[in-house]
Amino acid sequence: MNNVALKIQALKVGYGARTVLEGINLSVARGEWFALLGPNGSGKTTLLRAIAGQLIPASGTVLIGGHSIQEVPEQAKRLLGFAHPPERLPALLSGRQCLEVYAAAHELAEIGMPVLALAERFRLTSALDCAVETYSLGMRQKLCALLALVNDPALIILDEAFNGLDPASALILKQELAIRVASERCAVVLATHALDIVLGHATRAALLLEGELIRAWSAPELSALRAGAPNALEVALADAAATAAA
């Protein structure tokens, strides 16, 4: 089994003539929870969309489990679990129909029990037969997370997936992801502004600024920050940004 869930080499992505990401190199192994940090507009979502094959890069490669998302997208996407932004969900279908479609798209026979069990823990089961358009933001986020886990993926991509979730559901999702990561079934890549999640769960982190990864923190460095002052990570982020600006 290939232990490297995600490998990005010399990635360059843009919208039209505007380059948003350049020179991105990154490797995330199964059993790692990678937090992607950065101010608004720094290119976090663009990077995640490029990983998921939603944006085709100008140059560079993205390998998921050793399969190139550009060259062999079907093999790469079999290993991918991508949580869409909530507004991308089909408003007129029910939550259960969304899960059925996603399971079928991954060529599964049925919606897996772990996903239904997680829906139950989210207290979403009773709402699964209602149209998505009636869901609140938090309920949509839960459905997006469930869809990302439907195929028991080797790489889970989450973009601000905890926004709008109530504390209990956020805790359940963090626990679920932590179990999957700890058992080395998958790697998690999470773009977030929630530093408590980074300190509490991430095994590695990196700061993306103006389209470049300017600073990375390894597991021991994150442990040191956890043990330090309460705002140690904030200070570290500010320092890294100031150094890059200088």
Binding site: Q54, L93, I111, A131
Partner: protein
């Protein structure tokens, strides 16, 4: 600096200039698009003058039917846009701006009547051009176009004043499940229903039924009831077919983006999404053919119209799917596809449907090289 003027109109202006300037914020792009649009309108008018002597003998005996269709279409358009923009200005991002209800109402009117005003002016501009194209029938041309202009005016006013039963802000989305019951088994079955649901959402039978009543009242005296029913039926079916195609386009784009991170094959996705809407298109196109024949159109011509429509519907749907998957040179592909269909329609009409299906398969099998 203090900004003066109507903030809602300024917002519309910014919105339009952003659309025209595109992602690169290029003024040159905006101007070139506007010039292209004006050129396209002028070319379309000139093309119309070339075909006018052929079209006029077909249109002349059906002035009443054409007027009705124009009036009904504009009333539906204006009514839907009034509902849509009223909802937007009551709950959208500009709803909290300190502007009076009167100003809001005015902006809703501007947006709802924009198309009618454009068509009205276009018809009046076309009168002298088309009258010159066919001098022997100048009087009939003027009568037809002026009647259409009046129909545009009356139809849009009718649509504007059509009452709403509930204020838009009170509208609550439906909560029960839609389509076939979910079983928990992996299935793409819900995708086939999505297009139908979207059509139902946009093609509101309540509005149509309320429009049909005044439409019956504006029918001229002496017209046969069968003819009136056939015209109204044809109008409703045409509207349904158009909205279904629009819904298919909307759903194809949303669904392709939603399922993009999954390994689903494009052909499988296209079949899952398209079989039911295409079947409905086929059934209702056949119904339209029967009504056309009842109205006196020769069966062969009605069949060719139906064939052309079905070819366009299948091509448009697959082009949108291809676009959502990031295929490049899409405009060229569309131009080639529709150009080929136009040529076939002229020389080998019986090949139009097979050709449309083959081109659709070609669109779906192409691999994306770069995202637009």
């Amino acid at each position: 600096m203090k900004q003066t003027g109507n903030p809602l109109l300024r917002a519309i202006w910014f919105e339009w200039s952003t659309h025209l300037q595109g992602a690169g914020r290029s003024r040159a792009r905006a101007w070139s698009l506007l010039v292209l649009l004006a050129l396209a309108i002028v070319l379309a008018l000139f093309a119309l003058t070339a075909f006018w002597p052929v079209l006029l003998p077909i249109a002349e005996p059906n002035i009443t039917a054409i007027t009705m269709v124009v009036a009904l279409s504009l009333s539906v358009w204006t009514h839907w846009h009034r509902v849509r923009w009223t909802e937007f200005y009551l709950s959208g991002w500009v709803s909290t701006l300190p502007v009076s209800r009167r100003t809001q109402h005015g902006v809703v009117a501007v947006r709802s009547f924009a198309l009618s005003a454009f068509l009205f002016i276009l018809l009046l501009v076309a009168v002298p051009m088309l009258a010159r194209a066919s001098p022997s029938a100048a009087a009939v041309t003027k009568r037809l176009l002026v009647t259409c202009a009046v129909a545009v005016f009356v139809g849009s006013l009718l649509g504007w004043w059509l009452p709403r039963r509930t204020p838009p802000s009170a509208a609550v989305p439906r909560s029960p499940v839609i389509g076939p019951p979910a079983t928990g088994r992996a299935s793409l079955g819900a995708l086939a229903q999505w297009g139908t649901l979207q059509t139902q959402r946009w093609f509101k039978p309540r509005i149509i039924s309320r429009l049909v009543a005044p439409a019956v009242l504006i029918l001229p005296m002496g017209i046969s009831a069968n003819l009136a029913l056939a015209v109204l039926g044809l109008w409703v079916i045409s509207l349904y077919l158009l909205i279904m195609l629009r819904a298919s386009v909307h759903v194809a784009r949303s669904c392709a983006q939603w399922l993009q991170p999954t390994p689903i094959r494009p052909a499988r996705l296209a079949w899952a999404l398209g079989w039911l809407p295409l079947l409905k298109q086929l059934v209702w196109t056949l119904a339209a053919v029967l009504l056309l024949v009842a109205l006196g159109v020769r069966p062969l011509i009605a069949a060719r119209l139906a064939e052309g429509w079905l070819a366009i519907a299948s091509l448009v749907s697959t082009l949108v799917l291809a676009q959502a998957r990031g295929l490049r040179h899409l405009r060229l592909r569309a131009l080639f596809s529709f150009g080929l269909l136009a040529v076939l329609e002229r020389w080998r009409a019986q090949w139009v449907i097979p050709a449309a299906l083959l081109i659709s398969i070609w669109q779906l099998r192409s691999n994306p090289k770069a995202r637009v």
